[in-house]
């Protein structure tokens, strides 16, 4: 399947937006202008973009503590996202969730999640709804390498397999779970091999290459839509910043990070490819860069200018109805 010029331009916009969003938050957070903990997605843009380009609003995704990229790729509004991260009333969750709980059910974004592996069972639930309601939807669950050691991963993939649910499980293998390297926390090379335990396809993609992720993800998504069941897709990637903003990064070397940034950067890769293929002109991309920069700046302005929630909001939204 070929991507149109617009889709390619949109893809670049998505990846560039994620990158700028995270770089901006990294600075704001270090400057003490953002409350709470932030887990940044920079470096992994090709995965969110490469998967979500094949999804529409009826398709649901579940995300992780590192959820900004998935939210942006799923089309969540930037100002409302930024306001949420600042804890403002205008936030997408009225400031009640924050960075780790950004969600937009209408857009099929079922939430970042503070529990490692916690979103995987929710995703098979969304897949079950699609199957029972026959709405043609597919559910995608994004999670990290570390999450593949949670019981929820195991139970959910097995259920999805035996019920042939329209689901795709995307491992974002960035080499570490917090400060622990993958090579320590599992005893296998490719996490995709775990698919064999459930009798489903396991596929490895170069997660820094949008086109590789896109072709393998779209195939898995189409397979799910056809009712042929779930796929486990492992994307090898790397996170540019620490586990959280403030991470001393004592478990990996600057060289390791620099090497990836210079040789495997997903946005550089994308630009080289589309420009050399003559699909897009560098000038167009610079144009997008400017628009993105403006949009992010505007989002920050919006977030900082927005009002904090009224304390009376504390106990609303707990239940739809609670007569007591």
């Amino acid at each position: 399947m070929e991507l149109s010029r617009d889709q390619l331009l949109g893809t670049y916009r998505t990846m560039r937006t994620i990158r700028s969003f995270e770089q901006t938050l990294n600075e704001l957070s270090q400057a003490g202008r953002v409350p709470g903990f932030l887990h940044l997605y920079a470096g992994e843009e090709a995965i969110a973009a490469g998967v979500c380009v094949s999804l529409s609003d009826r398709d649901c995704v579940t995300s992780t503590h590192r959820g900004h990229g998935h939210s942006i790729a799923k089309g969540v509004e930037l100002n409302a996202m930024m306001a949420e991260i600042f804890g403002k009333q205008a936030g997408i969750c009225k400031g009640k969730g924050g960075s780790m709980h950004i969600a937009d059910v209408g857009k099929g974004m079922l939430g970042a999640n503070g529990i490692v592996g916690g979103g995987i069972p929710l995703a098979i639930g969304a897949a079950l709804s699609a199957k029972v309601l026959k709405n043609g939807g597919v559910a995608v669950s994004f999670f990290g390498d570390g999450a593949t050691n949670q019981g929820a991963f195991h139970e959910s993939l097995n259920i999805a397999s035996i019920l042939k649910l329209p689901a795709v499980f995307v491992i974002e293998n960035n080499g570490y779970g917090e400060a622990t390297p993958v090579a320590y926390h599992v005893n296998i090379r490719d996490l995709a091999d775990r698919a064999a335990s459930y009798g489903i396809p396991g596929v490895v993609a170069e997660g820094m290459d949008f086109f590789d992720v896109f072709s393998k993800a779209s195939a898995a998504i189409e397979r799910a839509r056809r009712g042929e069941g779930p796929t486990l897709l492992e994307c090898k990637t790397y996170r540019y910043f620490g586990h959280y903003v403030g991470d001393p990064l004592t478990y990996r070397t600057k060289e390791e990070t620099e090497k990836v940034r210079t040789s495997r950067d997903p946005i550089d890769n994308f630009e080289k490819r589309v420009v050399s293929d003559g699909k897009l002109a560098a000038s167009e991309l610079r144009g997008v860069d400017d628009q993105v920069a403006k949009a992010i700046a505007e989002a920050v302005r919006f977030a900082e200018a927005s009002a904090a929630p009224d304390p009376s909001e504390l106990t609303t939204d707990v239940y739809v109805q609670y007569q007591s």
Partner: protein
């Protein structure tokens, strides 16, 4: 339509059947809710038959046997509830909540709040509770205080067949996640159950017996225990009022306080263990909002702070008895 005698488990089955007939988005899932992976007919219809006949009527698309994967099945139900279905998931025994609590504690209960009110989770988790079947420490617990404590969840504990059907139909129609506790020792007890679909509202207690000398608050199986105690007390001229809470969350505070206003004395009876439990919760309510009404100490009749023993002799000593309730009432009245 007629009202007939039905057992508690038949009443549950009838509620599920009528809810599924009325609403195509209602589905049932759990371990051996059909059994035999029976695509046409069920082999078991649930370990105790609560889901018997459903797969035959509604098919494997809506009556779903799952592997022994509670995190997977409960979490799947939470995700499905968030995306358009009204799942009724079966957690065979509430004792198993430990292998799937996160999906209730951090997902079902919190999604709506964390999302700023933009999600609803119309989920019901049916689960068996309570001791008395010689099922030992891991199949006999009454852990409803654990779910009552969790903001975002509702917790229901019916005490009879009529309420079981009406409360389950309310729970399924409810837009919030509900933990529906079925005291397994009541499964074979029967009562009058109307044939048609009806609801008993969540958050409304019932006066199981009207009285004026002392208020006995209970739920589930302990309602019968309290009524038996009330009989004995009546013969001593003590006229006990028995309040059946029906739902622990939301809690019908007014029913407890109104009764206390009439009687001035309170005894709380709970099959569960004492620490941070329902009995403590009701006591705290009364001594806060009802202090001026109180004329004697609030006694709690609960299981001891220990696991449920297997040996029949020990298990019988474990479960609160009418005699212990009578004793507690006397000591409360004496102060």
């Amino acid at each position: 339509m007629a009202t007939r005698k039905r057992t508690f488990v038949q009443a549950v089955n009838e509620a599920l059947d009528q809810a599924m007939a009325a609403d195509p988005t209602v589905i049932v899932l759990g371990e051996d809710v059909a059994g035999g992976a029976g695509q046409k007919e069920d082999a078991w219809g649930g370990v105790m038959g609560a889901t018997k006949g459903l797969i035959g009527k509604y098919g494997a698309g809506r009556v779903i046997d799952t592997p022994i994967s509670e995190t997977g099945l409960v979490g799947m139900a939470v995700g499905a509830a968030t995306t358009g279905l009204r799942p009724v998931a079966e957690l065979m025994f509430i004792d198993f909540i430990g292998v799937c609590l996160d999906q209730l504690l951090n997902q079902a209960a919190k999604l709506r709040y964390m999302f700023g009110g933009k999600a609803k989770v119309p989920l019901v988790v049916r689960t068996m509770t309570g001791a008395g079947l010689r099922a030992a420490a891991q199949h006999s617990q009454s852990l409803y205080a654990m779910t009552t404590a969790i903001p975002g969840l509702k917790t229901v504990v019916p005490s009879n067949a009529y309420d079981a059907k009406g409360l389950l139909l309310s729970a399924i129609a409810d837009d919030d996640p509900v933990i529906f506790c079925e005291p397994k020792s009541l499964y074979t007890t029967s009562g009058d159950v109307p044939e048609e679909s009806y609801t008993v509202p969540l958050g409304k207690a019932a006066i199981a017996r009207a009285g004026k000398s002392v208020t006995i608050v209970a739920c589930g199986r302990m309602v019968d225990t309290s009524l038996a105690a009330a009989k004995t007390l009546a013969s001593e001229g003590i006229d006990a009022e028995v309040i059946d809470l029906r739902t622990l969350s939301p809690l019908d505070e007014d029913a407890v306080l109104e009764s206390l206003g009439k009687t001035g004395y309170l005894v709380v009876v709970d099959e569960a263990t004492p620490r941070c439990g329902m009995a403590a919760d009701i006591s705290a309510l009364a001594v806060d909002k009802g202090f001026d009404l109180l004329r004697g100490p609030i006694r709690r009749v609960t299981a001891p702070h220990c696991p449920v023993p297997f040996s029949p002799v020990l298990e019988d000593a474990y479960i609160p008895s009418p005699a212990r309730v009578v004793e507690a009432v006397r000591s409360s009245l004496e102060g």
